[in-house]
Amino acid sequence: MSVNAPANPAPQKAAPKASSRTRSERKLAWMLCAPAVLAMLLVTAYPIAYAVVLSLQDVDLRFPDEGGFAGLSNYSTVLSSSLWWTDIFNTVFIMVISVAIELVLGMAIALVMHRAIFGRGVVRTSVLIPYGIITVVAAFAWQFAFSPETGFVNNLPLISDEMDWFGGRFSSFAVIILAEVWKTTPFMALLLLAGLVTIDDQLYEAARVDGATAWQRFTRITLPLMKPAILVALLFRTLDAFRVFDTIFVMTRGALDTESVSILGYNQLISRLNLGLGSAVSVLIFLCVFLIAFIFVKGFGAKVEEGRPS
């Protein structure tokens, strides 16, 4: 999880100009970083730039002889389509609800992991198991569990045997969100645990001496001191959840208005081979993700360096 290199903690000396030693160290630092920077440019900047170029063109692989520069027409097609806005709604709906549930559950699990007196390693490892399972596999497992023909869920008390979970929009959302929560809560818990361990135990002792209740200790000490960790955990999960694809693709393939923006992009790019329109969708998804990150960092003051799990 190396998102950013930690800020250089070297004390700033009030030297009027850098010594030759500092200069050569800085040069060395640049040289050491260069391969990584190059690799990043190659594998991320190039595809992103290429997608932007494609999105301004009328390219369809099925019609190799047609096409040309299209300006912003692909973008206006996407943004004026009700489908795009329905899919944005679906994606945000799934994102907000699943991240909210994950935060509450993740916090509870983090507290348990933190307090575990014996078998700490076993507890932490076993909590992580769902996160280690491939999303497609997990999605199939949940789909089978909820299927009226093969699943066990409809045999549970209080649930109708006839319930067709994937036959309605919001019942499909419920299963999709459940599968997402099951899979990624451990990740959330782990990020929160990293924040939890940085809190000095003496603060709790002092609070206890002053007669603070457990709830007061949680709301007055734990939460404020964990704010950076919580924000980073929320940021990571929100960005991830916005790109939800596998679970929906396996469970409904986007039927009954359960499509996410990623599936919309897939349909244009992979199924229709309409690279222009598909790239426009991809670039818009990228911008949305960028916007979410911007809001978290500028709006809520999330600092990726401070809250990083390590």
Partner: protein, 415 residues
């Protein structure tokens, strides 16, 4: 090294290593095709390789069973001009797209004559685009109406009769169809629209969808989906859930492909005892129905390095013997009409070989257009879930369908 290996393969042609190296054993052909559980593909590839007398060997490369995923894997390779594909098992609906993009080679001359001999005309149509043949017809497929003889005296002639009759039954009162949001739903919708007397497209870019008949077809879907004859998971049903529902005794009626017969025989002997068959029901009582048409044709990839032998191999893979193998091992109906009196076919379809033939001859194929994928997605999007269609007011759904299809043939809009 290469020389030694080649010599070993071509056993005896040692002189080849002297100078020229053109006779280096059989040419390797790769055949990208959907897997058939009965083993047809392996069997025909093996036979044709053997019969070529060392000219070529065919290696099948299997694609997933899901039709959309087969296409996605193929178009990704073909879009990138992948030369590792020689022969393509091409679904009947891909012809327009693949031919227009220049991904598959045209068949001409003696080979064209050979592979179209005695083949149903509408099957040849599915392998053609703009009057040119792009593939050798292999197997075809069609749907029949399967019903329970213990519950239904005579099979219904029309969908309206069938829905009414099913709703009146005390048990097994549902009708199994395919209505998940996938290609199978397009098959179902297209068959109803064709049977109603109109068609989705009248040319690669001309939308037809005459209002009266189209609304009649939509009314049938709405009536089925919103009435008592709809199975509980109608909106997620496919060929397999339909078969399972019928075999479990939940339904008196089902429209499905011919595999349903062999499957019921194997899986549900009690239901099988009373399993009857009839032609796909009519939408308009005064017009004969037009059942669905499926199947695979074999095309030669334009990016193959072995086109000359690939044509020969594809012709063998699609010949009379191969078609018999397909019906014997996998129950796939042959595309040659003269085989329907052959013993392999009459024993695979005991009593209904003639009905299968009649259904194929009368079938209403799905539209041929380079933008087929867009049209199919548009139809699925406009009409799914099926219960959104109000049988008493089909006009709003009709307008939505028409405008989405009009955008789709022009490849406009998001889908």
């Amino acid at each position: 090294m290469v020389c030694l290996a080649a010599a070993a393969l071509a056993a005896g042609v040692l002189t080849a290593c002297g100078g020229s190296s053109d006779s280096s054993g059989p040419r390797e052909l790769t055949f990208f095709v959907a897997i058939q559980p009965g083993g047809t593909i392996e069997e025909v590839s093996k036979r044709c390789s053997e019969e070529s007398n060392g000219k070529y060997t065919i290696t099948p490369e299997f694609l997933p069973t899901d039709a959309s995923q087969q296409r996605e894997q193929l178009v990704r390779r073909l879009g990138a001009e992948d030369s590792s594909i020689d022969i393509i098992g091409m679904d009947v609906i891909w012809t327009g797209e693949f031919a227009n993009a220049g991904w598959v080679e045209e068949w001409t001359g003696a080979e064209k004559k050979q592979v179209t001999e005695k083949v149903f005309p509408n099957v040849i149509e599915t392998a053609s685009f703009e009057g040119k043949l792009y593939a050798a017809p292999f197997n075809t497929n069609t749907q029949l109406l399967w019903y329970r003889k213990d519950l239904v005296k005579t099979p219904p002639k029309t969908w309206d009769q069938m829905i009414e009759e099913a709703e009146g039954l005390e048990e097994a009162s549902s009708i199994q169809v395919q209505a998940n949001r996938y290609e199978g739903y397009m098959v179902f919708v297209n068959a109803l629209i064709e049977s109603a007397g109109t068609e989705i497209l009248s040319g690669p870019e001309e939308v037809d969808l005459e209002q009266g008949p189209t609304e009649k077809a939509l009314e049938v879907i709405g009536k089925l989906a919103n009435g008592g004859a709809a199975p509980p998971s109608l909106s997620t049903s496919d060929e397999d859930t339909a078969r399972l529902g019928f075999e479990a005794g939940e339904s008196a009626f089902m429209t499905n492909y011919t595999f349903a017969y062999a499957s019921a025989k194997e899986e549900a002997p009690d239901i099988f005892k009373n399993m009857g068959y009839a032609r796909f029901p009519r939408v308009d009582a005064s017009k004969p129905s037009k059942p669905p048409l499926g199947g695979f044709n074999l095309a030669v990839s334009s990016f193959s390095d072995n086109k000359d032998v690939a044509f020969e191999a594809a012709a063998c893979l699609a010949d009379k013997d191969s078609q018999k193998t397909a019906v014997e091992l996998d129950g796939l109906p042959p595309s040659r009409s003269d085989l329907y009196t052959d013993k392999t076919v009459t024993s695979a379809y005991p009593g209904f070989a003639e009905l299968v033939k009649e259904s194929i001859e009368a079938s209403g194929p799905r539209p041929t257009t380079p933008a087929y994928q867009d049209v199919s997605l548009a139809v699925q999007r406009a009409l799914h879930p099926p219960d959104k269609i109000d049988p008493d007011d089909t006009e709003s759904v009709y307008d939505e369908l028409k405008s989405l299809v009009e955008d789709a043939v022009k490849r406009e809009g998001l889908l």
